[in-house]
């Protein structure tokens, strides 16, 4: 990350604005700093994650020179917290006073459904985005899927980036710059006990090797040995998309927030068959606790129970089923790869304490304390951050 902090802030201090600007411009040319706006985009199966760097060190002259549509983009993004019906800025995640490529600014985190992608491209055309001559760095499957649409509809060329490269680069960067002075990383203390289970910040010092479990619509599991040395161990199609999809079908809900809200009120043991429901208690021959789930949705084999079940219980059972399954696969991969640190990221974990605690518990319990589950505050945005960094990097090394 040699290109990030050059200590050039000091050069500006106490200098007349003009000289500073001049120097900065020449420096910008020398280092071929990309022109604003700086975006990084991650177009996933369900959500588009967008990070936007808002420079706060803009001089008056710079502001004068700034073309109108660039200004309007900046104002539009920074003065709103919601865009259209479905776009949201996660204000609480904003990274303030960050220095990137010699500029100081705030990094904004914005998301909207992938379904709204055509409208987004439309907007890019309406705002004449292509005139800004910026490179739009994009990762995620959508970078490939929508490449033609960007070109034909908005006259924009995407710089397509691999999503796993971006994920790892972005994650390591955000962890390094920290979350406005606080640790980016956290874990759950006492995961076995719901009463005393608490979130604790921690550092991701010496992060390798780590098992990185990215839970988006689906799940990818990576073994990461260094920033550039990693492999995708496996993946599963039972991910966030499965949770939301099944919840919509089972309960008629429409959003992730709604589904989680219902799940938080439900009781999965009315839906799942537990070991004790079958054996009357623990299954001692195999060391299975009576409270362990023997069959997810197992009670739903019975018509009577299907007729009397609540939507909340169904939502909870769906959440627990998907989460435990991810935990189980992640744990097996950790053992097979001989990695003790498991980092869970992805938007499935957004506002989803239930799943995080379950994962923390599952890692701890099944490994007898050997494995630790770690979580990161910027859950699903690392791919987009990684894409932005690629923008700053590529233009730097011609």
């Amino acid at each position: 990350m040699h290109y990030l902090h050059r200590g050039d802030d000091a050069e500006c201090n106490g200098s007349p604005a003009k000289r500073c600007r001049l120097r900065r411009r020449t420096e910008s040319v020398r280092r071929s700093r990309p022109p604003f706006p700086w975006f990084g985009m991650d177009i996933g199966g369900t959500l588009v994650k967008l990070v936007y760097f808002e420079p706060v060190d803009i001089t008056a002259e710079e502001e004068q020179e700034e073309v109108e549509n660039l200004k309007s983009i900046r104002r539009y993004l920074t003065s709103n917290v919601a865009y259209g019906k479905t776009g949201v800025r996660d204000v609480h995640l904003e990274l303030r006073n960050l220095t990137m490529c010699g500029r100081t600014g705030n990094l904004h985190f914005i998301r909207f459904p992938t379904q709204a992608m055509p409208r987004f491209i439309q907007m890019g055309r309406d705002k004449n985005f292509s005139s800004l001559h910026t490179t739009l760095c994009a990762t995620g499957g959508g970078a490939y899927k929508f490449e033609n649409d960007f070109r034909s509809m908005a006259d924009l060329e995407l710089l397509k980036l691999d999503e796993l490269d971006c994920l790892i680069r972005g994650l390591l960067y955000v962890d390094r710059v920290s979350f406005n002075g606080h640790p980016e990383c956290y874990y759950f203390q006492n995961p076995a006990d719901t009463e005393s289970c608490v979130k604790k910040p921690c550092t991701l010092e010496d992060p390798f090797p780590m098992l990185l479990v990215n839970i988006g619509s689906g799940v990818s599991i990576l073994a990461v040995y260094s920033e550039n040395d990693y492999k995708r161990v496996t993946g599963t199609s039972l991910g966030g998309g499965t949770f939301l999809g099944l919840c919509c079908l089972l309960t008629g809900c429409e959003t992730f927030e709604e589904a989680l809200e219902m799940a938080s009120k439900g009781d999965s043991t009315n839906v799942d068959k537990l070991v004790k429901d079958i054996y009357g208690g623990d299954y001692e021959r195999f060391g299975l606790q009576g409270s362990a789930v023997a069959s997810s949705f197992g009670h739903m084999m019975s018509q009577d129970k299907r007729d009397s079940i609540s939507k909340e219980d169904l939502a909870r059972a769906t959440l627990v089923t998907i989460t435990n399954n991810i935990g189980s696969i992640a744990r097996m991969c950790a053992v097979n790869e001989k990695i003790e640190r498991v980092v869970f990221v992805g938007n499935f974990l957004r506002i989803n304490t239930v799943s995080m605690k379950l994962l923390a518990y599952a890692m701890d319990f099944w490994s007898k304390g050997q494995l630790r589950a770690l979580f990161l505050e910027h859950e699903g945005y690392f791919g987009a951050v990684g894409a932005l960094m690629e923008l700053l990097k590529t233009t730097e090394d011609p």
Binding site: Y144, S237, T242
Partner: protein, 754 residues
Amino acid sequence: MDKSITLPPDEIFRNLENAKRFAIDIGGSLTKLAYYSTVQHKVAKVRSFEQNAELYEISEQEEVTARLHFIKFENAYIETCLDFIRDHLVNTGTKVIKATGGGAHKFKELIERKLGLKVDKEDEMTCLIRGCNFVLRNIPHEAFVYAKHADSEFRFQTTHPDIFPYLLVNIGSGVSIVKVESEDKFERIGGSSIGGGTFWGLGALLTKTKRFDELLQLASKGQHASVDMLVRDIYGGSYGSLGLTGDLIASSFGKSATADKGFSKEDMAKSLLHMISNDIGQLACLYAKLHNLSRVYFGGFFIRGHPVTMHTITYSINFFTKGEVQALFLRHEGYLGAIGAFLKGAEEDNPNQYSWGENYAGSSGLMSVSPEMNPMQRARSGTFDMLEMDRLERQLVNLPLLQDPSSYIPDTMDLTEDALAREYWLSCFEEALDGVVKRAVASQPDIPEAIERSEKFRQKYRHKLQTLRQQPFAYGSLTVRSLLDTREHCLNEFNFPDPYSKIKQRENDMALRYYQKAVKSLEQLSWEQRQFALVRGVLAGNVFDWGAKAVSDVLESDPEFGFDEAKRHSLRPALLLQGPPHKCALFFVDNSGVDIILGVMPFVRELLSRGTEVVLASNSGPALNDVTNGELQILTERIAAMDPVIQAGLRDDRLTLVQSGSSSPCLDLSRLDKVLAMVVRERQTDLVIIEGMGRALHTNYYARLSCESLKTAVIKNSWLAERLGGKLFSVVFKYEVPPGKPSQEDSSAPSTPS
């Protein structure tokens, strides 16, 4: 409950009179009952007479043998069945019934009240593993690989002598993954709550369909791509750098959150099936990898013969292991719990000390559960599925001279995979049926009810052939051997233990009269001429085979068809007996009469004269006109009385008669009498001769042995001769030397008569 069902006593719950040691496995929808019983049936015996015109006396005696019965039926019939058992249970000291399965608890009171037996519960998983070990050990072709789009959906695996270690993935309502290392050592290494119950429960919620089978039906008609988010839905194509193709599922049910329209039941069921199968497959692979296991068997009600789930699990395992691990399924998977519970209760009988064999006459065979695939199955008798296993008199082991026991496949042609050959042989056996029935009746001229029994035999065997036409995989790989063995089992079932006994006796008697003359004429020949003549003699003798239709037609119509006649059909020999003499030759013999007496014995004599010890292996029990060990004992004594060479051989223990352990016209070198294996080892056998179509052509043609071997037969079937590129009465004379040993001559068959 269907009270109207009546149970025919001679078809279901057979041999209840002597039943003991009951075990029951009650699952979610099916009950499996197991019991041990003894079966009284006729066996053929021969006994030598000193002062009699007859060569030996033939008698049919009653013999009691042990049999295991396993019956599977729907839980709805449980009360009817218990009543039936109570009414037919005559006299048993049984006080306890072993029980396992989730339903054992629910029906405990009913069973105790109806049968007056104490229900003794056994651990489900322990029973499952015990049962699994038992079938893997005792039933060849128990395990199979499922391939939906292949010519034959079921590819059966040869039984490995060493069945451990393996992984058993039991998919019931949840999933248990068990690592089995030995008979008693196994461990549940993992599991998952996403299993059959999840498919059923979640499927019922999503589709409002109640029954598991119906859900599978729905799934088999659905398109999951409308519900699932595929890689191409995200990428627009494949994710090339990771090698993920566009049609892979990225997120199960991923489209159902955003779609504004509803989904069809079929599509949702299909998506759910994929989700669950893939998940189980993935976990199984992770565990297999962690424990370094390559044999992974799948069972449980989620699998239970359902082509749909076998296919999706197979697909998943292939995907996650890149083809390194194959998903294996079991023909008798549904019976494992009942078998295991039974074995737990029968420990004092030491059932694991014996070898057992599947009785083809009494077993239903593998039925596909899919009604489209199997229109026959839902007939009334399909409600009850049966497995019967006979306790074999002898423990069966591998021939120690097999080059690679784990890759040995006895059968030359797999009719499950070869539709043309299957059609030919099924028709061939159907056409021959009249003759077999006639022969069976003729073998019991003084017993009036023999005709009635012979008709029952006809019906039974014809039904088997019809079943096999529909479902060639019913009893494992369909082969000429299995068709022959099934016929033998059916004949035995209806008390025709040895339809050819009289014919064999007559022919043995006649051939004996020519023995001295034949030996004398051989002795007059020069050494080289004699070698030719000896081989020609074996081949000519082998033409006399009532089992082969082409020959029996000639034999029936032309009583003058003599040995010299047959000799003309034979051919050029090979110089097998050149060079230093062998230490010991093992000779698997075929037919009685001319074949054994005038063909084989002079050859044996030559071997003995050369200083080679000889072990003659013949069938333990009758099959067609093959000479049995009992008959051969008598014949050899008679010959010894005429021939000092044979006499000396017997006296000095250089000529030994052993039984093969089989009652089949074919030969499975992986299931031979333990004594035979011991003798072969002790004598340092270095030459194996296998004679006859059944043993050297239908089976073992491709068998690789670790010593010199000769496979020889006369092709007495024109279709087969044509298929092998020869003519009727062509000769197979296949002399092979294992790699690394000097060859004398390697002539391969078939060669046309000279």
